[in-house]
C-alpha cells in the first residue's frame, strides 16, 4: 500500500520465459528507465532463471533493505510465489510483491519497449496498468463492419442492428450461417442446429439495419480508430439475389457437377447452386471456377440463362470493390477443421469409411444425402466414365460398429498442441446419434481426457454411457484395411490391454484451426494473431474481445476454440463494446500508443491520490 510515512526501497527484477514476446526488446533501455523511477533502488536482470532459491532471495531482499519488489518480464507471475515467500522470510510485507507483465498489453512489435516501460512504471507505483494508460477517446462512426457471418457474426450483427444501428455483414461464402448451419444437432440438449440458427439467419436477411455482403472479402483497411475506411471485394455472384426466386430451373439444366462444399464433398452440386435450401440470401449463385460458360469465356453452355424465368442470371458479371466507412470492425472469421490426411495412420482419404466430423454431420443430417440415415460408403461405377466412386447410398448397409477417435490433430505437438475444446462433446453427440439411429450398432469412443465442462455436459456424458456406448481411455494408433471393413488398434489404458477389432466406420474428431486467410486478414487489419494463429485478445482475463487496435474486436472461435454458447456470449459481448461506443459517441484508442513517461506520471498521480483512501483489495475476508 502506498504510504508517505516511511520511505520505500523498491527492487525491480527482470525475468525471461522465452515466450517470444520479448523479441526485439532492448532490456537495457527498460532497466535504465526503471532505475530512474522514484524509490527504485535496485534493478537486476535475473536472466532465464528456472527456480530461484527463496532463502537466497530473502537474504538478498534483507541485505538491500527492500520494502517492495516488482517482478518484470513476459510471464512474471511464474516467479511471484517465490518472491512472496522470500519477502515473508525476510520479514517484509508479502503483499508488496507486484508484477509488471510485458505480455499483458498485447502490444504490436514496435510498441514492445514503451509498453514494457509503462508496465514497470505502473507496478512501481502500485497502480494497475489499465488505469494508468489514459484512454484517448475519438468520435466514432455509427456503422459497424462484421467480418464473417457464422453464428458469432450473426449474433453480433443482430444485437447491434436490433439496437438500431447499421451493420455491414461481410461473408466469404454465398450464404451466411457458417459451420453451424452444417450441423445436425447441438450438444448437450440435442436440439437441431437449424432450428436455432435459421430463425436468426432469417432475421438477419430481413433486418433493415443489416446489409449482407456475401461472396465478399475485406481487401484493405485504412483510416484510424473511430473511422475506418474499408475496401471490400465483392466477387461475382452472377445471379442477382434480389431477382432470384430459387425456383431451381437453372440447377436442373446445369451440366456441371462438383462436390458440394456445404456437404463436405459427400454429395455433388451443380455449378449453379444454393448451398442449402435455407441459405440466406435465398438465391442461387454461380461457382465461376467450375461454370462451363465462365471457363470457356462465353463459348459454351449458358443454358441456365435461357431457363431463368426472372432474368436473374448475369454470367458476365465482374467482381467489384466497395468502400465502406465504419467506426467499429468485428472479426468473426471462425475456423476450419484440421486436415485429417496429415495423420496417415488414420487412413483418411484412403479408407472410404473413415469420415471427418463435418462429413458425419452432413451424413446424419436429415437434409443430407441419405435423409439422415447413417450408412457406410459403398462403391459405384460411374455411368459415363465407368470409373469407380465411393458414395453414400440410402440403401447401403448401416455400419455395425462405429469408432470415434478424439483429439485428431489436437493436443499433439506434431500438429496442434492446443485443445480444440468442442471435440469431446461433439463426439459424445455423435455417439448418441449413432445409438439413436442404429440401436444395435456398437459405438466406441477413444479419448484421452473427457472434457465435458459446460452446463449439462457431464450429465450428457453419463447419459451416453448409459446408452451403451463404450468409452475407451486411450488414443487410437492406427486404422488399417481389414478383411471385412477396417481394423482399429488402440490401447485401452484402464483395462490394460491393446484393443484391436474390426469396425465399419470411423469418425475422426478433427480439431479446429484458424480459418484459412486468418493471417492475411490480421495483416490487413494490423492486429495480432497469436502463436497458434488465433487472434490475440487485448487481455486474456478482462478484455476477451478487444484487440490491440481500438475499434477492432474479435468474436467467437477466431479468438480461440469455443462451443456455441460461449461463442454466442462472446459475440454479444462484442456488441456491448460496439454499442457502448456508439451510444457514448466515442471510442477508446487505448494501448495503441503508450507513452511510458505519461503512464509513469499518471500512475504516480493515482498512487498518491490513493494513498489517502486505499481502495483496492488487500487481504480479503473469505465469505
Amino acid at each position: 500500500m502506498p504510504s508517505f510515512a516511511s520511505p520505500k526501497k523498491i527492487g525491480v527484477f527482470f525475468t525471461h520465459a522465452n515466450t517470444g514476446r520479448l523479441d526485439g526488446l532492448d532490456l537495457e533501455k527498460v532497466m535504465t528507465f526503471a532505475l530512474e523511477l522514484p524509490e527504485v533502488t535496485v534493478v537486476e536482470d535475473l536472466g532465464p532463471i528456472r527456480r530461484p532459491d527463496p532463502h537466497k532471495l530473502a537474504e538478498w531482499i534483507k541485505d538491500l533493505g527492500l520494502t517492495d519488489v516488482v517482478i518484470a518480464g513476459d510471464t512474471p507471475g511464474y516467479h511471484k510465489p517465490v518472491f512472496t515467500r522470500a519477502m515473508a522470510l525476510a520479514g517484509g510485507e508479502a503483499d508488496a510483491v507486484r508484477l509488471a507483465s510485458f505480455g499483458e498489453a498485447g502490444a504490436a512489435t514496435d510498441q514492445v519497449e514503451s509498453t514494457a516501460k509503462a508496465a514497470v512504471a505502473c507496478a512501481v507505483h502500485d497502480v494497475p496498468f489499465g488505469l494508468a494508460v489514459t484512454p484517448v477517446r475519438v468520435p466514432v462512426h455509427p456503422d459497424t463492419l462484421v467480418i464473417g457471418a457464422g453464428v458469432a457474426g450473426i449474433e453480433t450483427a443482430l444485437r447491434i442492428a436490433d439496437a438500431g444501428h447499421h451493420v455491414h455483414l461481410v461473408e466469404r461464402a454465398a450464404t451466411i450461417g457458417g459451420h453451424m448451419a452444417m450441423f445436425d444437432k447441438t450438444f448437450p440438449t440435442l436440439d437441431c442446429a437449424a432450428c436455432i440458427l435459421t430463425p436468426k439467419m432469417v432475421a438477419v436477411g430481413q433486418h433493415e439495419n443489416i446489409d449482407i455482403l456475401n461472396c465478399s472479402e475485406v481487401q484493405a483497411v485504412g483510416g484510424s480508430p473511430g473511422e475506418y475506411k474499408v475496401r471490400v471485394l465483392r466477387r461475382a455472384r452472377r445471379v442477382d439475389p434480389e431477382a432470384c426466386v430459387a425456383c431451381h430451373a437453372c440447377r436442373d439444366v446445369c451440366p456441371t457437377r462438383v462436390p458440394s462444399e456445404f456437404d463436405e464433398g459427400i454429395v455433388e452440386r451443380k455449378a449453379i447452386y444454393m448451398a442449402f435450401p435455407q441459405a440466406i440470401p435465398n438465391a442461387y449463385v454461380i461457382d465461376g471456377d467450375n461454370c462451363l460458360w465462365v471457363k470457356s469465356e462465353g463459348e459454351k453452355c449458358g443454358a441456365c440463362v435461357k431457363k431463368c424465368p426472372k432474368d436473374a442470371i448475369h454470367l458476365d458479371e465482374e467482381p467489384r470493390s466497395v468502400e465502406l466507412t465504419v467506426g467499429n470492425i468485428v472479426v468473426a472469421t471462425g475456423f476450419d477443421t484440421f486436415d485429417a490426411t496429415l495423420i496417415e495412420r488414420y487412413g483418411y482419404g484412403r479408407l472410404p469409411n473413415v469420415l471427418t466430423a463435418l462429413e458425419f454431420e452432413r451424413l446424419t443430417n436429415a437434409s443430407g444425402p441419405t435423409g439422415g440415415r447413417i450408412v457406410t460408403r459403398t462403391v459405384r461405377r460411374k455411368r459415363k466414365t465407368k470409373q469407380e466412386e465411393w458414395i453414400f447410398d440410402t440403401d447401403a448397409p448401416a455400419p455395425r460398429s462405429v469408432a470415434i477417435i478424439h483429439c485428431v490433430g489436437s493436443r499433439d505437438q506434431n500438429h496442434n498442441a492446443y485443445c480444440s475444446r468442442v471435440c469431446c462433446m461433439y463426439s459424445l453427440k455423435f455417439a448418441h446419434l449413432v445409438k439413436e439411429k442404429l440401436p444395435d450398432a456398437e459405438c466406441y469412443q477413444f479419448y484421452i481426457d473427457m472434457r465435458a465442462f459446460g452446463k449439462g455436459y457431464e450429465e450428457f456424458f453419463e447419459r451416453i454411457k448409459d446408452e451403451g456406448v463404450f468409452v475407451v481411455r486411450g488414443r487410437t494408433a492406427q486404422i488399417q484395411r481389414g478383411d471385412d471393413g477396417m481394423v482399429i488398434r488402440g490401447e485401452d489404458i484402464v483395462h490394460d490391454r491393446i484393443r484391436e477389432f474390426p469396425v465399419d466406420m470411423v469418425l475422426l474428431a478433427v480439431g479446429l484451426e484458424p480459418a484459412k486467410g486468418t493471417r492475411h486478414l490480421a495483416k490487413v487489419l494490423d492486429i495480432q494473431p497469436g502463436c497458434d494463429g488465433w487472434f490475440t485478445e487485448l487481455n486474456y482475463n478482462t478484455d476477451p474481445t478487444a484487440t490491440n487496435r481500438g475499434g477492432i474486436h474479435v468474436a467467437g472461435v477466431c479468438q480461440g476454440p469455443k462451443d456455441i454458447p460461449d461463442t454466442v456470449a462472446q459475440a454479444s459481448a462484442v456488441a456491448a463494446r460496439v454499442l457502448g461506443s456508439i451510444i457514448s459517441g466515442s471510442i477508446r484508442v487505448d494501448r495503441d500508443t503508450v507513452s511510458p513517461a505519461e503512464a509513469a506520471a499518471q500512475a504516480s498521480a493515482i498512487a498518491s491520490a490513493n494513498a489517502q483512501e486505499a481502495s483496492w483489495p488487500s487481504e480479503p475476508t473469505p465469505t
Partner: protein
C-alpha cells in the same frame, strides 16, 4: 497393499539417459503403435507409468524394455514429445545395472567419467602387461613363428581365461535377471518342463534377431544383424581359429575370407552408427548416452587396429604390426572386460533371455487363465 510412490526414481533414470518422461500424459498412442505390444505385454506406456510413479519394484521385474528394439516410431508419433523409445532404452540401462551384482554397471551408467577412467586403466594395464609379456617371449621385430613377440598360442590361453571370467560374471547377472523377472514373482508359476521346451528360443533370437525383423522398419534390424553376425564371426574365428588367422604371411582364404567380411561388416556398421548418432538422422540415434559413444568408439578403434595390424603383418612390417597389436589389445580387453558384463554389450545376453522369459511368463499366465476358465464363472460384476 498400496505401493508408495517415489518421485525420485525419475531423477535416477535421468542419469541413465531418460528424458522427457514427465511429459507423457498417457494417451496410449505409443503402445498401440508398437507392433510388439499385445495382450500380455502392453508397452511402452505402462513402463513409462511405473517410472513416473516411481514404482521401482514393478520396474525391476519388468521384461518389457527387452522386448523393445527402439525402432523409434512411438517417439515420432508421441503427441507430447515424451520420447517413449528413449525411455525404454534408458530402462534397459537401468535394468542392466540392477542385474549386475557388482554395482559397477550402475557406476558406469551414472558416471561416464568412471567408465572412461576404468577403460583407460584397463587399457594401460593391458598395454603394460602385453609389452612385458612380449619382451619375455621374443623380439618386437618378429610377429609370428619362432621368437614372436606375442605368440598366438600363448595369447590364446589368455583369451580363454578372460572368456571364462566374463561368462561367469554375465552368467551370475543372468540368473539375477531370471530371479527379478520370473523367479521371485509369486503370481507366475512356470513349470520346469516349460523351461526346457522354450530354451531354444535363446539361441534362435540370439542368432536371428527375429523379433527385431518384425519392426515396421527393416533397416535398423539389417544394420544390427550385420554388426552382430560380424562380431560373432570374428569371435568364433578368434576363439577357435586364431592360429590360422595369425600365421602369415600367406593368406588362408578359408578363414580369411570370413574374417575380411566380418571386419568389413564391423567397420561399415560402426561407421554407419557413428555417423547416424552424430547427425541424429534417425529417431533411435537422436539421443545418445555417453556409454553409447564409448562403446561405438571402442568398437571402431578395435576394428580399425585389428585391420591395420593385419595389413601391417601381411605387408611385412612386423614391428609396426606388433605395436599396433598391443594397441588393438588395449582396446579389445577393456571392451570385453567392461562392456560385456557391465555395459552395453551385455544386452546380447539379456535380450534373448528377455524373449525367453517373457514367453515363459506369457505361457504361464495363459495356462492360469485357462485353468480359471474351467472353474465356475464368478458372479459378473457391474462396472
Amino acid at each position: 497393499m498400496a505401493i508408495r510412490a517415489n518421485p525420485h526414481l525419475i531423477d535416477e533414470l535421468e542419469k541413465y539417459g531418460a528424458q522427457d518422461v514427465v511429459k507423457c500424459y498417457h494417451c496410449g498412442n505409443c503402445s498401440a503403435t508398437c507392433p510388439f505390444s499385445g495382450d500380455t505385454f502392453v508397452f511402452p506406456r505402462k513402463s513409462m507409468r511405473y517410472l513416473q510413479l516411481g514404482l521401482s519394484s514393478r520396474l525391476r521385474g519388468n521384461l518389457e524394455p527387452w522386448l523393445c528394439y527402439y525402432c523409434g516410431e512411438c517417439s515420432e508419433e508421441c503427441p507430447r514429445g515424451a520420447e517413449p523409445g528413449e525411455t525404454m532404452m534408458s530402462m534397459r540401462r537401468w535394468l542392466t545395472a540392477r542385474y549386475d551384482f557388482t554395482g559397477i554397471s550402475g557406476l558406469f551408467y551414472r558416471s561416464p567419467k568412471a567408465e572412461l577412467l576404468a577403460i583407460t586403466l584397463v587399457a594401460l594395464l593391458t598395454g603394460l602387461g602385453f609389452t612385458l609379456f612380449g619382451m619375455s617371449q621374443g623380439s618386437l621385430a618378429v610377429y609370428d613363428g619362432p621368437g614372436a613377440f606375442l605368440p598366438a598360442e600363448k595369447v590364446h590361453v589368455f583369451d580363454w581365461i578372460m572368456a571364462g571370467v566374463l561368462v561367469g560374471l554375465l552368467g551370475i547377472n543372468c540368473v539375477r535377471m531370471w530371479w527379478f523377472t520370473v523367479g521371485s514373482d509369486k503370481a507366475v508359476r512356470v513349470p520346469p518342463g516349460q523351461y526346457l521346451k522354450q530354451v531354444l528360443l535363446v539361441p534362435w533370437h540370439f542368432m536371428t534377431q527375429r523379433r527385431y525383423s518384425q519392426c515396421d522398419r527393416k533397416r535398423p534390424w539389417a544394420v544390427h544383424l550385420v554388426l552382430m553376425l560380424s562380431y560373432l564371426t570374428m569371435l568364433v574365428l578368434i576363439m577357435f581359429f586364431l592360429h590360422r588367422l595369425q600365421h602369415g604371411p600367406a593368406i588362408d582364404w578359408t578363414v580369411h575370407a570370413l574374417g575380411y567380411a566380418a571386419a568389413l561388416g564391423l567397420l561399415g556398421t560402426t561407421l554407419f552408427a557413428l555417423r547416424g548418432r552424430g547427425l541424429r538422422n534417425e529417431t533411435h540415434y537422436k539421443h545418445s548416452h555417453e556409454t553409447d559413444w564409448i562403446f561405438l568408439i571402442l568398437l571402431f578403434v578395435v576394428t580399425l587396429t585389428g585391420i591395420t595390424q593385419h595389413i601391417l603383418h601381411r605387408g611385412g612390417l612386423e614391428t609396426a604390426a606388433n605395436v599396433i597389436y598391443i594397441v588393438h589389445m588395449m582396446g579389445v580387453v577393456p571392451m570385453l572386460v567392461l562392456e560385456v558384463p557391465f555395459s552395453k554389450w551385455s544386452h546380447m545376453a539379456y535380450r534373448p533371455l528377455g524373449m525367453y522369459f517373457s514367453t515363459l511368463r506369457e505361457k504361464a499366465l495363459l495356462a492360469e487363465e485357462q485353468d480359471s476358465r474351467t472353474r465356475p464363472e464368478p458372479v459378473a460384476q457391474t462396472a
